[in-house]
């Protein structure tokens, strides 16, 4: 059953081919058997999951079950889950059991989904390799010597290893799309404000957005339908009509205009990755799409702008971790200042500290205009590039990541090399646009991701385009070697 998609699981449950309790028990058993190799879960919620499955079976028996009734999914460990450990990949929250559910979790509960556990991630979502997690790195199911990408590496690996059919994730600079690319699955980051951030532990509030990890675009449509909601508890959430994402999946893409930014095909792009992306574009052309070269002239400034804005917002957001109200507290503090400093010094890892320090520097007196304000102005220029481009094209495409999955340790000592992993994904966050990554083939034995960028609130178009590609190609059905012959 583990190779079934969400759409197939929904059908199987509603037709009573299997019960949610059978499915959930099998999912849990498989996680316990397989996941020690990959470490994609920080915690597995056997008891909670089986209770939810039992309740789901009761609803299914009555015949009025909600959309995801009885389907096992995983939540990234950045979403607060009432009564279930929520660590954000940090020692700071190693003991944090939230007294409430995030809105995203509420929405999944209302849809009848079964939460089997919380997925591993870079500490406070800061990283592109999952090497900064306090709970150990996640191994890429395609090659356990390689990283799964990050920060949502646990969600990506869990879906790629077919431990779950879908998982939630978050994306601040590429944290859904890059791990989806490196693990050969479908990742969707919606428009900023489409999904509520309430109860999602904040990293950079003006960039953070929750989305989905699945094997198919159809499943992403089903999950987004559940996640998207206007929420008055998140003041940055946008009250915009929610499309029926499945309704347009089968629309023809004849006449679709695809923009290819010349800046996304330059120096630093692995030739194998470039070849797979270009083949995918040719596939779209054969399906009736037109291709147009475009320019996003401020692209080279997106990484520098991001590494001012994200650390600045992180340093403000992470000031809440003080060892007083929740989270890690140091032993025997001499005084209040010692309590703050040692609790934070012991609770945060190196990358988190580095970003807090960069952020504190960028926001400090005398530097605010030169750094934060300047970056916010550049951000508008980057957004304007996209606004101009979307006057002529329907969708923008390019590589998700400059290379396929890389080996552990190969970039962890060089923050700049790690930051450049997100060179093609960061601009989308700065502009607040929706983006996806879908599998488009292999380089050697490692998957490559094709990135799709859409206009504001045009998730339905992205999903339609991705779905049509997946109807015509088999790349999304490719699975890691260890799953071969495993049914």
């Amino acid at each position: 059953m583990h190779n079934l998609t969400i759409a197939e699981l929904v059908k199987g449950l509603q037709n009573k081919t299997f019960s949610s309790q059978e499915l959930t028990q099998q999912t849990l058993d498989r996680i316990h058997a397989v996941d020690p190799t990959f470490n994609s879960f920080i915690s597995v919620s056997d008891e909670r999951a089986l209770q939810q499955a039992k309740a789901a079976d009761a609803l299914l028996a009555k015949g009025d079950a909600p959309t995801l009734c009885g389907v096992p999914i995983a939540q990234k460990d950045i979403f607060c889950t009432n009564g279930t450990l929520t660590t954000c990949g940090s020692k700071m929250l190693h003991n944090f059991v939230p007294p409430y559910d995030a809105t995203v979790v509420d929405n999944y509960n209302a849809a009848g989904a079964v939460m089997v556990g919380k997925t591993n991630m870079d500490e406070f979502a800061m990283g592109s390799s999952n090497e900064t997690s306090f709970f150990g790195s996640v191994k890429n199911p395609w090659d356990t010597n390689c990283v799964p990408g990050g920060s949502s590496g646990g969600s990506a690996a869990a879906v790629a290893a077919q431990l779950v059919a879908g998982a939630t994730a978050t994306d601040t600079g590429g944290s859904i799309r890059q791990p989806a690319a490196l693990c050969g699955i479908t990742g969707l980051k919606p428009t900023y404000g489409r999904v509520s951030r309430w109860g999602m532990i904040a990293f950079a509030s003006s960039l953070d957005q929750a989305g989905t990890m699945t094997r198919t675009a159809e499943d992403a449509a089903i999950m987004l339908q559940t996640m998207a909601s206007y929420d008055s508890k998140d003041s940055t959430c946008v009250d915009h009509p929610i499309d029926d994402y499945r309704a347009s999946l089968n629309n023809s893409i004849e006449g679709l205009t695809i923009g290819l930014p010349k800046e996304y095909f330059g120096e630093g792009l692995d030739p194998g990755t470039q070849a797979r992306v270009e083949e995918a574009i040719k596939q779209f052309e054969s399906m009736g799409a037109k291709v147009k070269e475009i320019s996003l002239p401020h692209s080279s400034l997106s990484v520098p702008a991001y590494y001012v804005i994200a650390p600045a917002e992180c340093s403000a957001n992470l000031s809440r971790f003080d060892g007083v109200r929740y989270g890690h507290r140091c032993e025997n503090p001499a005084d209040l200042e010692d309590l703050y400093k040692r609790s934070r010094g012991e609770g945060f890892g190196d990358e988190v500290k580095r970003r807090i320090l960069v952020g504190a520097y960028a926001l400090s007196a005398g530097y605010y205009d030169a750094y934060y304000n300047k970056a916010q102005k550049v951000r508008r220029l980057i957004k304007q590039d996209f606004v101009d481009a979307f006057k002529d094209v329907d969708v923008i495409m390019g590589p998700t990541s400059p290379t396929p999955a890389f080996e552990f340790g190969s970039k962890s000592d060089d923050p700049i090399a790690m930051y450049l992993e997100d060179i093609y994904t960061i601009a989308t966050n700065l502009a607040g646009l929706p983006g996806m990554s879908i599998p488009c083939g292999l380089v050697g034995d490692k998957p490559v991701g094709l990135q799709l960028i859409g206009n504001y609130f045009n998730e339905a178009k992205l999903l339609n385009v991705a779905h049509q590609f997946q109807q015509a190609t088999h790349f999304h059905t490719l699975a890691p070697q260890f799953l071969k012959g495993d049914k």
């Binding site: 900023y192 109200r325 989270g327 005084d335 945060f348 190196d350 580095r354 960069v358």
Partner: protein
């Protein structure tokens, strides 16, 4: 950036870091600052800073009570409490 400057920043950010970390951080932060200095070359004259991608403004609501008191529940996650208060080391002599 010098390790002493890192220590000063760490102090402002209420982070305890040892000498070794300060030294390592000084060199990596110098690289990060060089990266973000590329922004200075951009012509941003007359460009307004962008805080929300859709330029949304702060949502306000009527000042009505909407939440019930959950003090005890919310304090269950605190490291040390007493009679509904968070405990910290003595601040005033």
């Amino acid at each position: 950036m010098e390790p002493s400057e890192i220590q000063k920043l760490a102090n402002l950010a209420m982070l305890d870091i040892n000498e070794e970390t300060a030294k390592e951080t000084a060199s990596s932060i110098t690289d990060v600052l060089a990266l973000i200095d590329q922004l200075q070359a951009a012509d941003t004259d007359g460009v307004a800073p962008m805080a929300h991608p859709l330029d949304a403004v702060q949502v306000l609501r009527a000042d009505n009570i909407t939440e019930s008191d959950q003090r005890d529940t919310l304090m269950t996650v605190a490291p040390q409490t007493d009679s509904g208060l968070f405990l910290v080391p003595k601040v005033v002599e």
